[in-house]
């Protein structure tokens, strides 16, 4: 590939000075050239796999193997191998389902909502975040499929004619969830793949081996960069973003309806849909930061995922974390204000009952910790941001545990009350889903460009034909 320059030299052209108050931190640092962006990102999947990659990949693959063992054991023995017992009939299975699917939401928010809002910084992080979405939804999808017990009847969830002539019952929110989650997965894959097509063409045109030429060429679909194609492509991308935005808002809303359509104190509330969506975006941004902070340092991507990107993602985390904190306090207020003794008991039981050990980290990690993001010094300290991003997801796991397990373990009839314990299969399955997630993610960064090459090229100053660096003629500035 042509060597070219790695950075543009602004001395070659006269760039008029922007007034200080209008200057912004550039999205691509050091005025990197188009060629540099291609070389930098593509080399990540062209060079030999680094040692650290194997160090992470082997345990991940082993964890994935453990997941397969746990699932086979559960299928062959029965759901009784999990700790789910009356009255806690939903436990870690649904906690982990909601947790993983929530993590996925940041990817779609970055790729769709920020695209519609013309937040051009999304281009640096959207590819990896969308991949994260797909893998998180894969992990999530395992649980509802498995928790039905007889997994070989899972196809009854879909409107497929069966021998009993009975159809799915669409008045149940669980059926809505089937449609929401499967649509979410499908559309996320379409959106991600469509964004990949021009970058697969980049990989195809650089490929040195026949194998790479064949596979990148096949999946690039013969993309040439024709502007007649770009014109349709950009319109299709805009429409997909417009469709994904109501989709991502509906998915976690419908997940929350699984709970709020029931009659249970602590579940039966109208605040659930927006509160779940905010929590999902909050946890998703936590995961994006957890993944990208180490990757940008290891892969030397500081010019593409700049401190401005990190700073903005911390601000989104702060905003959504504050919405979650507001929702927590509003739940308590409504419990008191409703005058409903069952509702009041449930919330006192959350904070002071036998599961207080789960409630305290939930409030700490989700409400108090993100408030530190008000401080610029914290947002610019990568180590602290990394630790906080992990705490966000610890807190969000406890939130789902609090809602589901505390909601169920003490219902209306005290003789029903019980205390829930997970089993080793619960724990093994959960750890195993991390194996699936990280195996997929590590394969992704090995074989596919983890930064949207052609999109990042489009946000550089030299991509703009009306910018001096893009070749536009600069009118002589005449002094007044």
């Amino acid at each position: 590939m042509a060597a070219g320059t790695t950075s543009i030299k602004p001395t070659q052209v006269v760039v008029p000075e922007t007034p200080a108050e209008l200057q912004r931190v550039p999205l691509v640092g050091n005025l990197r050239s188009f060629g540099w962006i291609s070389n930098r990102v593509a080399s990540l999947c062209e060079d030999k796999a680094p040692v650290w990659w194997w160090i992470l990949f082997i345990p991940s693959a082993l964890c994935l193997g453990m997941l397969l063992f746990m699932l086979s054991y559960q299928i062959s023995t029965g759901v009784g191998v999990w700790g789910n017992r009356h009255p806690v009939m939903w436990a870690w299975d649904i906690v982990n389902f909601v947790w993983w699917i929530g993590i996925g939401h940041a990817g779609t928010l970055i790729s769709a909502i920020l695209f519609l809002l013309r937040q051009r910084w999304r281009t640096g992080v959207n590819r990896a975040a969308e991949a994260m979405t797909i893998f998180a939804v894969m992990c999530a999808g395992i649980y509802p499929a498995m928790h039905v017990g007889r997994v070989w009847y899972d196809w009854w969830l879909f409107p497929i004619p069966n021998a009993n002539s009975i159809w799915p019952q669409f008045r149940s929110p669980l059926m809505w969830d089937v449609f929401a989650v499967s649509t979410y997965f499908t559309v996320s894959v379409l959106f991600w793949y469509m964004g990949l097509v021009p970058d697969l063409a980049v990989m195809r045109d650089r490929a040195k081996t026949r194998l790479r030429q064949f596979f990148y060429g096949l999946f690039a679909l013969g993309w040439t960069g024709s502007n007649r194609h770009w014109s349709n492509y950009e319109k299709a991308y805009l429409i997909l973003a417009g469709l994904s935005t109501p989709l991502v808002l509906s998915v976690h809303s419908i997940v929350s309806l699984d709970f709020s359509v029931s009659q249970l104190p602590g579940w039966h509330t109208t605040i659930f849909p927006p509160y779940f969506v905010a929590g999902a975006v909050f946890s998703g941004f936590g995961m994006v930061l957890t993944l990208l902070i180490p990757l940008r340092s290891i892969f030397k991507l500081e010019d593409l995922i700049t401190m401005r990107h990190i700073d903005l993602m911390c601000k989104v985390t702060l905003a959504t974390g504050s919405i979650v904190g507001y929702a927590y306090s509003m739940e308590f207020f409504i419990a008191w204000y409703s005058g409903n003794p069952n509702e009041q008991f449930h919330f006192l039981n959350r904070a002071l009952g036998p599961y207080q050990w789960a409630w305290i980290p939930m409030v700490t990690c989700n409400v108090l910790v993100p408030q530190l993001f008000w401080f610029r010094a914290i947002r610019h300290n990568l180590f602290i941001v990394f630790i906080m991003s992990i705490l966000v997801n610890v807190g969000m796991w406890f939130e789902r545990f609090v809602i589901i397990v505390i909601g169920l373990h003490r219902d209306f009839l005290p003789s029903n009350w019980n205390y829930y314990h997970p089993t080793w299969v619960d724990i093994g399955t959960y750890v195993g889903t991390f194996g699936l997630f990280f195996t997929m993610f590590l394969l992704f960064i090995r074989f596919l460009p983890m930064i949207a090459i052609s999109e990042v090229k489009g946000v550089t100053p030299q991509s703009d034909p009306h910018h001096p660096l893009g070749g536009a003629k600069v009118k002589e500035h005449t002094a007044q």
Binding site: G4, A201, V202, G222, G225, P246
Partner: protein, 179 residues
């Protein structure tokens, strides 16, 4: 080169966004029909410079969305009201409210299919074999170069004059690509 090989078109290379944009405006004004601009990323304002109309992808997505919503509502009505009605919790057999969430999801699903496959259809993709993809120099289009390609089948095409036009537009590298 044997005499049987046919020419596909003339390829002119440009090195920055502004020069290819101005070249496109000139080629458009010269009245060419079968030509295209190739860029590593969508260049802002290029559709207008080429005189392209608004993309028709929206229609595919719209028809997909309408189909999805109608399919959802009709399917749920047929299954739960007509083919095998079961009363559950005293709820009505069909309600547009409980049928809405799955229909809404199907609207999005079919709309997304319409938009992706509509885009591929309008672009006549996948097309793995293309004369330009065989050209070594042209592979820089996904790297950092910009190209204007005028096909030989264009009625206004003449090798010498078209080459002269592209040279005047500032292209430093011009070659004719075989079919």
């Amino acid at each position: 080169m044997n005499g049987l090989s046919q020419q596909y078109g003339i390829v002119a290379e440009f090195t920055n966004a502004a020069s290819v944009l101005h070249a496109a405006e000139k080629v458009r004004d010269a009245g060419f029909r079968k030509w295209d601009v190739f860029t590593p990323f969508p260049v802002h304002g290029m559709d207008r410079a080429m005189g392209l109309r608004n993309s028709k992808v929206g229609w595919f997505a719209f028809i997909g969305g309408v189909t999805g919503y109608t399919t959802g509502m009709l399917m749920i009505w047929y299954m739960n009201t007509f083919d095998y009605p079961i009363v559950i919790g005293g709820k009505p057999l069909f309600s547009p409210f409980s049928a809405f969430p799955p229909s809404y999801e199907l609207t999005i699903l079919f709309g997304a299919f319409g938009s992706l496959f509509g885009m591929l259809f309008l672009n006549r993709l996948p097309r793995l074999h293309h004369p330009l993809l065989k050209n070594k120099r042209f592979s820089l289009v996904t790297h950092d170069r910009f190209f204007v390609v005028i096909e030989c089948t264009d009625p206004k095409y003449s090798e010498n004059e078209t080459r002269k036009l592209l040279e005047n537009l500032g292209s430093r590298h011009i070659e004719v690509v075989e079919e």
